[in-house]
């Protein structure tokens, strides 16, 4: 295929060709970045929590007045919940579960020296001290949540406290590596400003209740502490298909045990619902981003097809002449395909540059990471394919122009 005649034709249609090139360039830039944003969000919503998600449900009870014996109340409630058929285990927590937004956190340091360093620096950064999310709960929490103990042991019954600070804790592997890099965390004494806390166990993964950024989302710590407020959340483990039934039964059992309490309708959820609610915005955004990327590609395809159609109509006569002096249908078809390829290539080259610029803009305004470069060739391929697809029908129409047109006036 000769490119020279195509280029000289395009020179006659400079404006339209430039417009099309720009449209392809912008589409390429936006679609690459949108695809990257979609990938980031998908990665965000598929983060593992470390717990047995599809076997858990949670029900919150509040409004029991002070004065009642909270510990006795909880023990009775838990006994009633464990008696429900299908419930394999049940524990009480104050409020925190991974991804349920109710986070309690406080600073903790690997040693007293690290705290002094943090005081000197007036900042927690660089001192080795961290702000992990704290979880509490009644005995059996680790087993009920389905956490993987990778080192050490679960809490002993006499380590649990109601009020006050426990002397031991279980931490996540991520937190252990951050606080004690290169040495075993098990048995170390963490310092929180008042007390030393011994690490007795390490669990594989336990996500925070509210995500911050990927580097710190796995920093969690479990205290052997029973909830002691007037509000408490009971976590039930059952077979996945039993969860709705178990929740209904749990509500009835709790209200029967103490009719005085309040169980808000929104506070009875399977863990799947908790997770879905947490990422609801992200799932909406993923839908929106995909829809807008497809919309953009569609509009661009429309533009390419529209202009190609116009060119075919405009050049019907010259196509007829070319056919009359010996060009085959294939020649005409390839002519338009090559023309499209040239325009899209110019657009893609510009688009790749624009994609990087757009990514830099997004990085400053929306904390988006750098666009991996392999997105660019994929975007380019997509646009080439799109261009060829949308030019196919006008090009076929051009190839079908009979040579006899040359002898007629248009």
């Amino acid at each position: 295929m000769q490119i020279r005649p195509i280029l000289s034709t395009l020179r006659h249609h400079k404006l339209t060709a430039i417009l099309l090139t720009l449209q392809v360039a912008f589409t390429c830039a936006i679609v690459c970045n949108v695809a990257f944003m979609v990938a980031k969000r998908v990665q965000r919503i598929s983060v593992p929590t470390g717990i047995a998600e599809n076997e858990l449900s949670a029900i919150s009870s509040s409004g029991i007045e002070k004065g009642e014996n909270m510990q006795a109340r909880q023990t009775a409630d838990l006994a009633a919940l464990r008696a429900i058929p299908g419930v394999r285990s049940a524990v009480a927590v104050s409020y925190s579960l991974p991804l349920n937004q109710s986070e309690s956190s406080s600073g903790i340091c690997p040693s007293k020296q690290a705290l002094d360093r943090a005081m000197q620096l007036n900042s927690i950064d660089g001192s080795g001290c961290v702000q992990p999310a704290s979880y509490d709960g009644t005995p059996g929490l680790i087993a009920t949540l389905g956490l993987q103990l990778v080192a050490g042991r679960d809490f002993l019954p006499d380590e649990y406290v109601g009020k006050g600070k426990p002397a031991v804790a279980i931490i996540t592997r991520a937190l252990a590596q951050k606080m004690y890099p290169g040495r075993p965390a098990l048995g170390q004494s963490m310092y929180d400003g008042d007390h030393f806390i011994r690490v007795v166990g390490i669990v594989d993964t336990l996500l925070r209740p509210a995500l911050r950024k990927p580097g710190v989302d796995g920093d969690s710590l479990i205290w052997p502490q029973r909830p002691d407020g007037s509000g408490v959340t009971y976590v039930l483990r059952s077979a996945p298909q039993d969860r709705q039934r178990v929740l209904k039964a749990a509500e009835a059992a709790l209200l029967q045990a103490s009719p005085n309490r309040i169980i808000a309708p929104g506070q009875m959820q399977t863990y799947t619902q908790i997770r879905r609610a947490y990422f609801q915005r992200d799932t909406t955004m993923i839908g929106l981003l995909i829809a807008s990327a497809l919309g953009l590609l569609f509009v661009t395809a429309l533009g390419i097809a529209g202009l190609a159609n116009f060119w075919v109509q405009q050049r019907t006569r010259s196509i007829g002449i070319r056919r009359a002096i010996g060009a085959t249908r294939g020649d005409i078809l390839h002519y338009f395909q090559t023309e499209n390829f040239l325009i899209v290539t110019a657009g893609v080259v510009l688009g790749v540059v624009l994609a990087v610029v757009l990514n830099l803009l997004l990085m400053t305004h929306y904390e988006l990471p750098r666009l991996p470069l392999w997105y660019l060739p994929i975007g380019a391929l997509a646009l080439w394919a799109l261009g060829q697809l949308s030019v196919l029908s006008p090009a076929l129409r051009a190839a079908a122009v009979p040579p006899v047109v040359a002898t007629r006036s248009v």
């Binding site: 404006l15 339209t16 417009l19 099309l20 720009l22 449209q23 912008f26 589409t27 936006i30 949108v34 509040s62 409004g63 007045e65 002070k66 007036n122 008042d194 407020g229 007037s230 509000g231 005085n260 309040i262 808000a264 609610a277 609801q280 915005r281 909406t284 955004m285 929106l288 981003l289 807008s292 919309g295 953009l296 509009v299 661009t300 429309l302 533009g303 529209g306 202009l307 159609n309 116009f310 109509q313 405009q314 305004h365 929306y366």
Partner: protein
């Protein structure tokens, strides 16, 4: 002339229906996407108290002794500082803001107990924020001073508990205390919920009590924003090393604003010299500055807005290209009109009228798509879903943007069309 151009435009649009539909569709989709997100932005970044917001200020200082070098003060303050500043009565009006959850039951009603958020504040809250009353009124400064067991409830709660009747004088049990209802609000939905430091679009609290009484009836259930040390009695924060109280002031002129700024700065400096504070940083932000600082408009909404406008831009490119094709295809016709005496300006105007007509049609489609888009936004479980609707300015803006963008897109093709050389075209006929 305009009528004639309109007629020509209609004929031209009818000639190639598929192309016309495609162009209108492209404009409609672009307008629909951008107006949906623009409407959401417009509502979310709006002024919750138009007319009042310029005189309302949020006072901030930094009581956290563990952050001596913080550049920004805390979002809320400790009880001690809040009471000092409030007690000085240096502003035209002032309100303290404290939140807690409490169990609410109306003894005369069959509705089961509810767990609700309680706002504990001071008498000026109602006149200062222009809170509308349906029945009764707010409480007095005396009620504040005497720890009166009085409560103001929302329209929503009044409907739920009392079927919407005038419930002033009836009793509401909060926790274990009986309170007298003194006021029932009209529906009141400032968006965002500006007076809270959490910066979102939830509804105002359903029960509001004087701060002095609230602290007594819900003692032990107050939640801190942050603490720099463990509170000795959780839930009882009056003398705890915790930040949990907000302070709003109304200052009616610029002189008072600078005087109050001075007062706030002096207070922080004095506390620092007394050793109670380690930082003298203070801020006195106006309501809109405060919302801006909190960053209430979600990042995702901003991103959607940019995306939608990028989309509109691509649709514009498309329209330019297609209009160019459309106009130049009629070169012969334009040549004849030029030869018969039409000026370049006349051809230009005619082309723009056609582009404008496309814009109008696209605007109608865009308006329908905007309504559909907003319907989708309302169905999302966000706390601002109920606020989203198309008001008159945004409705007009939809058409203005549609016509303006398509006329803009028409300029280049029209300019090319009016420079068609008549002689060349006539020869080709």
């Amino acid at each position: 002339m305009f009528g004639y151009y309109l007629d020509l435009a209609l004929r031209s649009l009818k000639r190639n229906k598929v192309l016309t539909v495609l162009m209108v569709l492209a404009i409609a989709v672009g307008i629909g996407a951008s107006m949906t997100t623009l409407t959401v932005m417009h509502i979310l970044s709006g002024d919750p108290l138009p007319g009042r917001s310029a005189h309302l200020f949020y006072a901030q200082l930094n009581p956290d002794i563990a952050r001596p070098h913080a550049k920004e003060p805390a979002y809320v303050m400790d009880y001690h500082s809040a009471m000092d500043l409030w007690g000085a009565h240096r502003a035209d009006r002032q309100a303290l803001i404290v939140n807690s959850a409490i169990k609410v039951v109306a003894p005369e009603s069959a509705v089961p107990p509810l767990q609700l958020d309680m706002l504990s504040t001071t008498t000026d809250f109602f006149p200062m924020f222009g809170v509308p009353f349906h029945y009764g009124s707010g409480w007095s400064a005396d009620d504040d001073a005497q720890h009166a067991r009085v409560v103001v409830i929302s329209d929503d709660l009044n409907n739920k508990l009392f079927g919407g009747a005038n419930s002033v004088g009836r009793t509401l049990r909060l926790g274990r205390s009986d309170l007298h209802i003194v006021g029932v609000l009209k529906p009141w939905r400032p968006a965002p919920l500006f007076y809270e430091a959490w910066g979102n679009y939830t509804r105002p609290q359903d029960v509001m009590t004087p701060l002095t009484s609230g602290l007594e009836i819900n003692d032990g259930h107050f939640m801190q924003f942050t603490c720099w040390d463990m509170p000795s009695t959780p839930g009882h924060l009056q003398n705890a090393p915790c930040e949990w109280v907000g302070l709003w002031v109304q200052l009616d002129d610029a002189a008072k604003v600078s005087a109050y700024k001075q007062f706030l700065g002096d207070y922080a400096a004095q506390q620092k010299s007394l050793g109670r504070f380690t930082s003298g940083v203070t801020r006195l932000r106006s309501l809109m500055q405060w919302l801006d600082y909190l960053g209430v408009v979600p990042d995702d909404v901003r991103l959607q807005n940019w995306l939608a406008f990028a989309f509109l831009a691509i649709c514009l490119f498309n329209t330019i290209g297609l209009l160019l094709a459309k106009f130049l295809r009629r070169s012969g016709e334009i040549g004849v009109r030029r030869a018969l005496g039409a000026s370049r300006a006349a051809i230009f105007a005619q082309c723009l009228v056609e582009a404008g007509l496309l814009g109008l049609l696209g605007g109608i489609g865009g308006w329908l798509l905007t309504m559909a888009g907003l319907w989708l936004v309302r169905r999302q479980p966000t706390d601002y879903a109920d606020l989203i609707r198309l008001d008159l300015p945004m409705f007009l803006a939809t058409f203005a943007v549609a016509i303006a963008t398509s006329v803009l897109a028409g300029v280049l093709p029209a300019w090319r069309a009016c420079r068609v050389a008549p002689a060349l075209q006539l020869k080709a006929l």
